[in-house]
């Protein structure tokens, strides 16, 4: 398989005050020499002709030593001490401009100076070094803390890789940082590239300055690649990037584990769903099958001579129950599509009146005992919907209405345009009320208002309606009427690729 990483290039512009001073090795020593010379120049005008007390001067000469030690370290400090010793001797100890010393006490002062200055320089230098070390450790800790905080909230691998790359780029002052996360299972590979565009020139296919693997206990997850000019990475920086890498690995693993856990939870849910579906459906399938079997065996029975009325009664029952079975199978298929997230409406411009007509046609057997009143005009605007899914919604709502309302009562279907941009459909019946607190719940899977055995139905119909209507960006709700009960749903008159009124503005020639 080829590796096609997604590359994100982030250009960063940040001030880099030190970048302008090109450092070169030995610069610290040069600076130490300069400081000592400057001090010598300052002291010279105060030199008296007949010689003076060297003790004050020798103490003043400790200044360049201390400065060099503090600013540039132990080596330059020692050099400054040696130079100061020589300068003191050459310029200020008579005879001037020679390194010769006449007086024994002068010699003593010089030797003591050398000893003291070197010792102080070393002590001060060591303190300052350990101070700067602890500063470096503090910075390191801050970078690490920032990275950890940053990583903690991230929920996708791309952002984790970006966060690592960004921190590494800033902390190491690198030219370019690439973070590669290898593909694992269904998780695609990620490749994030961060470049510092504030510097001229770009890194072309050069080998990286430093590579750090993203190594987890279960294998290699990827790597961090760093490009930097000039100085190679110091021990501290190597340690820091190593810690970044391990933080990154922890974040990636945490993410992968939580994803695995939610997948497992989904599977468990769908498992539970399937078993309740099975138990509900097997009951539901048996009822019509029992009727059909009973009717057919009766008709085939040779012991009874059925009169024509009884025969047609039995045959009507068979036909009704087969329609019922067919409808149930349709609902099951829709339910499994909704559960699999595969219920995508195949939209086209349709007339709601046509849909209602064919739904009623298909329901004729079941609605025979109710009066159906339909007010859905063919002059309503066309709606961009999936014909069969919306037909299924009507079938389920009509079927529900006929099941829960007394025989001989009215079922009314009404559609109207509301707010100019959608149609609202109301399917009402004269059945009993549903407790207000259950009005939402009746659209839940397997939820039934009455006890399971009183009314046939798997408790799927309304949840399918909800799934379909929501897939069409509509809304469905139920309400108690003064006399009866009603389902309402809305359907937008436009959808992606189906602009509002596109189907309504056709002018005939």
């Amino acid at each position: 398989m080829e590796f096609h990483p997604e590359v994100i290039i982030v250009s960063m512009t940040r001030p880099d005050p030190l970048g302008r001073f090109k450092k070169f090795p030995g610069m610290e020593y040069l600076l130490a020499i300069m400081v000592t010379s400057v001090f010598t120049l300052i002291f010279l005008p105060f030199r008296s002709a007949e010689g003076q007390d060297h003790t004050i001067l020798s103490q003043l000469y400790l200044l360049p030593v201390v400065i060099s030690s503090v600013l540039w370290g132990l080596g330059p400090g020692a050099l400054a001490a040696l130079l100061s010793f020589l300068a003191l001797n050459y310029f200020f100890v008579p005879p001037y401009y020679t390194l010769l010393v006449h007086r024994t006490e002068d010699l003593l002062v010089l030797i003591v100076f050398l000893g003291v200055s070197i010792t102080i320089g070393q002590l001060v230098g060591r303190v300052s070094k350990s101070l700067s070390d602890s500063h470096a450790r503090e910075r390191e800790a801050i970078h690490l803390y920032e990275l950890t905080v940053h990583l903690a909230g991230l929920q996708d691998e791309q952002s984790i890789a970006s966060a690592i790359a960004e921190r590494t780029l800033i902390v190491l002052r690198a030219r370019r940082v690439d973070v590669l996360v290898e593909a694992q299972g269904q998780v695609p590979a990620h490749h994030v590239r961060m470049e510092d565009r504030s510097r001229p020139g770009q890194v072309q296919n050069e080998t990286p300055t430093y590579l750090c693997p993203l190594q987890s206990s279960r294998g290699l997850l990827g790597e961090i690649q760093v490009w930097r000019e000039g100085v190679s990475l110091g021990a501290v920086e190597v340690r820091l990037i190593g810690t970044f890498a391990s933080q990154g690995v922890t974040a990636l693993e945490r993410l992968r584990l939580s994803q695995a856990a939610s997948r497992a939870r989904l599977l468990e849910d769908s498992d539970r769903f399937k078993s309740s579906l099975l138990s509900s459906v097997s009951h539901e399938l048996r009822t019509p099958l029992a009727t059909i079997k009973a009717a057919v065996t009766s008709l085939r029975s040779e012991t009874v001579a059925w009169d024509s009325e009884a025969r047609s009664e039995l045959l009507a029952a068979i036909e009704e129950e087969t329609d019922h079975l067919n409808q149930l199978v349709g609902n099951l298929l829709n339910m499994s599509r909704i559960e699999a997230g595969a219920l995508k409406p195949e939209r086209s411009w349709n007339s709601l009146a046509d849909i209602v007509t064919s739904a009623i046609e298909r329901m004729r057997q079941q609605t025979g005992k109710h009066q159906l009143e339909v007010d859905v005009s063919g002059d309503l605007p066309l709606v961009p919907v999936d014909y069969f899914q919306i037909e299924q919604v009507f079938i389920n709502l009509i079927s529900n209405s006929s099941k829960y309302s007394p025989e001989g009562t009215k079922i009314t279907i009404l559609a109207q345009r509301v707010d100019g941009d959608r149609l609202q459909v109301t399917v009402s019946n004269q059945g009993p009320h549903v407790a207000e607190e259950n009005l939402e719940r009746i659209f839940d899977k397997f939820y039934r208002v009455t006890a399971a055995d009183k009314v046939t139905g798997a408790g799927l119909g309304l949840s399918i309606c909800k799934g379909i209507i929501e897939a069409h960006d509509g809304r469905i709700w139920a309400e108690n009427l003064a006399q009866g009960f009603a389902f309402n749903f809305t359907l937008p008159l436009s959808a992606e690729g189906f602009p509002l009124n596109a189907g309504q503005e056709i002018v005939d020639e």
Binding site: T322, N326, G330, L333, S348, W349, N350, S351, A353, D354, I355, T357, S358, V374, V376, S377, G378, D379, L382, Y387, F388, E391, A502, G503, Q504, I506, D508, E509
Partner: protein, 232 residues
């Protein structure tokens, strides 16, 4: 006995074959059955039937392909049987030359009606004496004179309306897919503009039907297209 129309049923479900063979034989047809696509094609070639009933899901090959291969050499009427979930296949099969379809489960009266329409149609096209006058209830359509009357009164139609009605009426009894209507009446490039069709059908229904909301002539074929119903 040679006057009995010969029907070939291609379906892989033994129960359906058994039922159809029994019922169709009782209704006076000569019936042969095949349970695989290849077998069906061979039988159709060996003993050309007057009509083929074809299931879309066959074990060895796609029913749509069987349909296409039959159409390479014969214009025998083909009625597709399919389940409701394969609307797309159905439309493809109809566009590939199938004449009609039925959704399983179906009522036998419906199947017999479809068989009658298909056989009559093929008889007409063989005799190439297509009627120029189509009568549907109170509506009389004269295809040659471009004239439509209802209860003897002339109905004014626009050019597109007449073209649409004429195409539907010339294929009376048969299902026509949205696509085929659009490309015949409008233009093949507008075969996707279902909204045109919906609007014009609505206009025609208003002019022709007693109750445009419960049309009896221009019937809807869910997800497929339309069918013009005439008096049998």
């Amino acid at each position: 006995m040679s006057t009995q129309p010969h029907i070939l049923v291609i379906d892989d479900e033994a129960q359906i074959l058994r039922a159809l063979r029994t019922i169709l034989t009782a209704k006076g047809f000569r019936v042969s059955v095949a349970s695989r696509g290849e077998e069906g094609l061979t039988m159709a070639a060996a003993q050309p039937p007057d009509l083929i009933i074809l299931d879309l899901s066959l074990p060895d090959m796609d029913g749509v392909e069987v349909c296409a291969r039959l159409r390479e050499w014969t214009q025998v009427p083909i009625i597709i049987l399919s389940v409701r979930e394969s609307e797309r296949d159905k439309v493809v099969a109809l566009d590939k030359g199938a004449d009609d379809y039925l959704t399983k489960p179906f009522g036998i009266e419906e199947l017999l009606a479809r068989i009658r329409v298909a056989l009559r149609h093929s008889a007409q096209s063989i005799g190439s004496q297509k009627s120029q006058i189509v009568t549907a209830g109170a509506v009389v359509i004269d295809l040659a004179l471009h004239q439509v009357t209802r209860n003897g009164e002339e109905i004014k139609l626009t050019a597109t309306e007449f073209k649409l009605l004429a195409y539907l009426a010339a294929n009376a009894g048969r299902v026509l897919t949205n696509q085929s209507i659009l490309s015949h009446v409008w233009d093949p490039s507008e075969a996707d503009r279902v909204e045109y069709l919906r609007v014009y059908v609505r206009q025609l229904r208003k002019k022709l039907e007693d109750d445009p909301d419960h049309p009896s002539f221009i019937r809807n074929e869910p997800g497929i297209g339309y069918r013009f119903m005439v008096d049998e």
